[in-house]
Amino acid sequence: MKFHHFFDSSRSPFLRSENINGLLFVLPLIFGFLAFQFYPFLASVFLSLTRYNLLQPARWVGIGNFVLLVKDPDFHKVLWNTVYFTTVSIPAGMIGGLFLALLVNYKLKTMTLFRTIYFLPMFTSWIAAGVVWAWLFHPSFGLVNYILWGLFRIEGPEWLVDARWAMPAIIIVSIWKNIGYNMLIFLAGLQGIPDTFYEAAELDGAGRIRRLWHITIPLLSPTTFFILIVSVIAAFQIFDVVYIMTEGGPEWSTRVIGYHVWNTGFRYMKMGYASAIAWVLFIFIFGATLIQWRIGKRWVHY
């Protein structure tokens, strides 16, 4: 324990003052952490073990909420939707982002313009993006179906009103929104690879594809790993875009876990049950991150 420094008058008054000042400077943050992060975290554990609708006092049900969730076919559907969204949108967004980063990684003036454009959706709110894409996906007047027909003679689906196509539509929007982020982080990773690696490979006569496969991709693996972790955490929590585009429908086809928590808690006022759902979400995120760390050790080269 170094805490006795506080009371230790033999210590230099200067160091003591540094100690006190330092603690003072971080105090607001510690207060914020305790009040707005740590307390809600503990309270959420407690809430998930109760039934509480704001009107009557919370009633202790133990693991009752979790037992209900395990048996609830609606909740299984929600989990499936979340996994569907995550497993399709992340690989597509990451491969696309890497591809774009490789293409745009030239020192040309035009590339700056391209970067500006590709990053635009990242800074647009999910709500505004969702509204605009809902208009683009309009079955009869939407630009998407018009272009599909005009260019490829494909009769476009009814997108957001069709239970089979609503989720693909949401996935398309999220790829559009996230691809710039992936590209940006991959670009930062690419710029961290020393040129000497490529020069050596070129001397050895390695072609473009071989250099990509044997140098770029392995050396980018910490970046890839980082994007994967962050993307999984974000994808499990997707909410805004579902709220604005489909409200979880049609027929629950886009009801993901983030939306389900909000709907159960704030529409149906089932605070305890919603907390239990939120905890399942947290366990999923935690588990996925843990598994990725484990597997990551095998494919990430530092």
Partner: protein, 282 residues
């Protein structure tokens, strides 16, 4: 050999430009369509085949949007600007103060405290939002801005992280010199560190503003009176609860997006650097 390689490069660059060109058209298409639709006259948005340009153009949709009698659309902007300004200013002060201490001062359990704070970033909002809502309800803070402002200002952990990374790059000699001159710790922070950290502070301000302006879940949960709504929940309310025309929705979306994109075009470096340095996802 060298010549062949050069032409090979040229072909590859040309091909890259072509793919990037097509891609960037797809990326920007929603923006073009949004702005174009927002200036169309009634009925023109449903014309077939769709018209790319709004001819004749009108600003009638925007005027109508601001004169809706059931929705104070102009007010939403004032609210969002107010929140964005307060939260950014608060984050700048408290995050930089803590970041300075974590980077440069030696105090009790410094690194442990920092790690604990950092680990809380993994906790999903979904887990915290229900207890937070109940807490704010107990404090009678629902339908005020306090639940939006206080957690952002006092628990701005990624902002602290971002600034700490920056402060770590400033050499200690500078500090030691100031200490010898008898400068107080707050003085060192205020007079030496902050001016040096200007670029990092701009980055933080930009990212904090972005997060506040685009925030949806929290205002949605805490705010109930229409005249306190922010731009994002105002737009969502208009779209989900009213049968209004698409050209009006597009005018609303354009207004919600344009302020951020304007700032982005001017401060692009700070946007991208903020994302790269903190790793946060929009």
């Amino acid at each position: 050999m060298a010549l062949a390689k050069k032409t090979g490069n040229k072909v590859i660059i040309a091909l890259s430009l072509l793919i990037l060109g097509v891609g960037s058209f797809i990326m920007i298409l929603p923006f073009i369509w949004m702005v174009s639709t927002s200036f169309k006259i009634p009925g023109a948005e449903y014309s077939f085949p769709p018209e790319w340009l709004p001819i004749p153009a009108t600003i009638g949709n925007y005027i109508e949007l601001f004169s809706l009698d059931f929705l104070p659309y102009g007010r939403f902007f004032l609210n969002s600007i107010y929140l964005t300004a307060i939260i950014s200013a608060g984050c700048l002060f408290f995050d930089s103060l803590a970041a300075f201490a974590f980077a440069k001062l030696r105090f009790w359990k410094r690194d442990t405290i920092f790690l604990i704070l950092l680990s809380s970033m993994m906790l999903p909002v979904a887990v915290r939002i229900i207890p937070l809502y109940l807490m704010m309800r107990l404090l009678h803070w629902l339908d005020t801005y306090l639940p939006l402002i206080l957690p952002r200002i006092f628990a701005g952990i990624w902002g602290t992280f971002l600034l700490r990374q920056f402060f770590l790059t400033i050499p200690d000699d500078l500090l030691d010199a100031a200490k010898i001159d008898g400068c107080s710790f707050f003085g060192i922070y205020w007079q030496i560190m902050l001016p040096l950290a200007k670029p990092a502070l701009i980055t933080l301000a930009v990212i904090a503003s972005l997060a506040t302006w685009n925030d949806f879940l929290q205002p949605l949960v805490y705010l109930t009176s229409l005249d306190k709504y922010t731009v994002q929940i105002g737009l969502a309310y208009l779209v989900t609860d009213y049968e209004v025309e698409w050209r009006m929705f597009m005018a609303g979306s354009t207004l919600a997006v344009v302020p951020i994109l304007l700032v982005y075009v001017f401060l692009q470096k700070h946007f991208t650097r903020g994302i790269v340095m903190s790793g946060i996802k929009g």
